[in-house]
């Protein structure tokens, strides 16, 4: 009787809640309420139904053979355990997500490396007081004035001044 179902894994809902981003909070709450409802239903149901007092029934019911027949059929009855068809799907989902997650983490790490590079570039810049305009154009290429397109001062459209 006890081995027919896999043991339930204890879930730390607090830690789970911490990792949920804000935009998915609603879905998380829905999942939590569903899980809580199911677990409360589970605890409300007894594990085994109470045993039927066959002796009392045998004594009281005059119709002979009825109780014996019931008892025999009852003990011979095997209730089928419900078949688990969904766990495989969940496992498949998990594997698919795993792949995506790893790809995302890799991309994230690459982004972090880029950001770090930019950060070191900014941190190692010479202070602005000691920069010349050439240095400024090197550090921030967007400040370079296009002398070919606008050959006359101020080398940019008047509207941009």
């Amino acid at each position: 009787m006890a081995g027919r179902r896999a043991a339930l894994k204890a879930i730390d809902w607090m830690a789970f809640a911490e990792r949920v981003p804000l935009d998915q909070r609603i879905m998380f709450n829905a999942l939590k309420t569903t899980s809580d409802a199911i677990s409360s239903r589970l605890t409300s149901l007894p594990e085994k139904p109470p045993a039927i007092d066959w002796a009392y029934y045998k004594k009281t019911i005059a119709l002979s053979g009825l109780v014996d027949e019931f008892e025999k059929k009852f003990s011979a009855l095997k209730i089928p355990v419900p078949v688990d068809s969904e766990t495989a799907k969940i496992d498949a989902q998990e594997k698919a997500v795993e792949k995506d997650a790893i790809a995302y983490v890799e991309a994230s790490k690459a982004r972090v490396v880029e950001y770090e590079k930019e950060l070191t570039r900014f941190r190692n810049m010479i202070p602005f007081e000691l920069m010349s305009y050439d240095d400024l154009n090197e550090a921030f290429p967007e400040t370079k004035l296009d002398k070919e397109k606008y050959p006359y001062w101020p080398h940019k459209p008047i509207a941009d001044l």
């Binding site: 789970f16 007894p46 009281t60 019911i61 998990e94 972090v112 950060l119 900014f122 000691l130």
Partner: protein, 252 residues
């Protein structure tokens, strides 16, 4: 075509020019900006200009003359020079001199009085430019740092992806368990209902039989009472009552 000939002939002609004529011309053999430019970072521009006396004569000149002539040397030199120029009329005093004196005194007065304020104003303009660029730089740095933080946070979030699947699997297991237990309970309830029904039927039948028998017996008894017996029993009852009432009166 002739121009091309001239152009090709020019370098050769230049090389054959005599030294006196070639001084002002450009030698094509020499090339400017030929080597790599020096890419070393320049030293920063100094804050203060070199020290000067009288606004135009650098300090180095005084230091240069100090070993030979002491402190007063350059001043003597200057005074002597000015007197020489005036006395020999190498510098002639005319109306231009008055103009120069007036202009120079005004200029020097203006610079000395308002120089620092103008400098401060220009400094402020420069400061504003620097401040805007500095804010851009600081904002970029902050943005990058927050971006790195966010990325790390998202990576941490991704680590918790197993939770949701564990929860789903748990739910499934619990639902299956619930289903199984409900089935057990249903079977039990059904069997119990049927057995209880049998017992209830028995009891009901029993009671009905009893009630029926009692009522039948009663009706039979009432029927069997003849009018004679009826009168006798009533007389007996009255006698009994009288005796009882006497006994009751006696006790009271």
């Amino acid at each position: 075509m002739l121009s091309r000939l001239v152009l090709r002939a020019a370098p050769a002609a230049l090389r054959n020019l005599s030294p006196s004529l070639s001084a002002g011309t450009v030698h094509a053999a020499r090339s400017f900006h030929g080597s790599q430019p020096c890419t070393a970072p320049y030293p920063p521009i100094p804050e203060k200009a070199g020290a000067v006396r009288f606004g135009v004569i650098p300090e180095e000149f005084f230091q240069f003359l100090y070993p030979k002539t002491g402190v007063t040397g350059p001043y003597m030199l200057g005074t002597g020079l000015i007197l020489y120029l005036l006395s020999k009329e190498i510098y002639v005093i005319n109306h231009e001199t008055i103009t120069a004196v007036a202009t120079l005194s005004l200029l020097i007065y203006g610079v000395k009085r308002y120089g620092s304020r103008v400098a401060a104003f220009a400094e402020k303009l420069n400061e504003e430019k620097l401040a805007t660029v500095a804010t851009v730089k600081n904002d970029s740095i902050k943005a990058l740092e927050t971006a790195i933080e966010e990325e790390k946070r998202e990576q941490w979030r991704v680590e918790g992806r197993s939770y949701i699947f564990d929860a789903k699997r748990n739910n499934i297991a619990m639902l299956l368990e619930i289903n199984y237990r409900e089935r057990l309970l249903m079977v039990y309830n059904e069997v119990k209902k049927r057995l209880d029904y049998q017992i209830a039927m028995q009891h009901l039948k029993r009671r009905k039989e009893q009630d029926h028998m009692i009522s039948w017996v009663e009706s039979k008894v009432v029927q069997s009472i003849t009018p004679q017996q009826h009168k006798e029993s009533i007389a007996k009852c009255i006698l009994d009552l009288k005796a009882l009432s006497k006994a009751a009166q006696a006790t009271v």
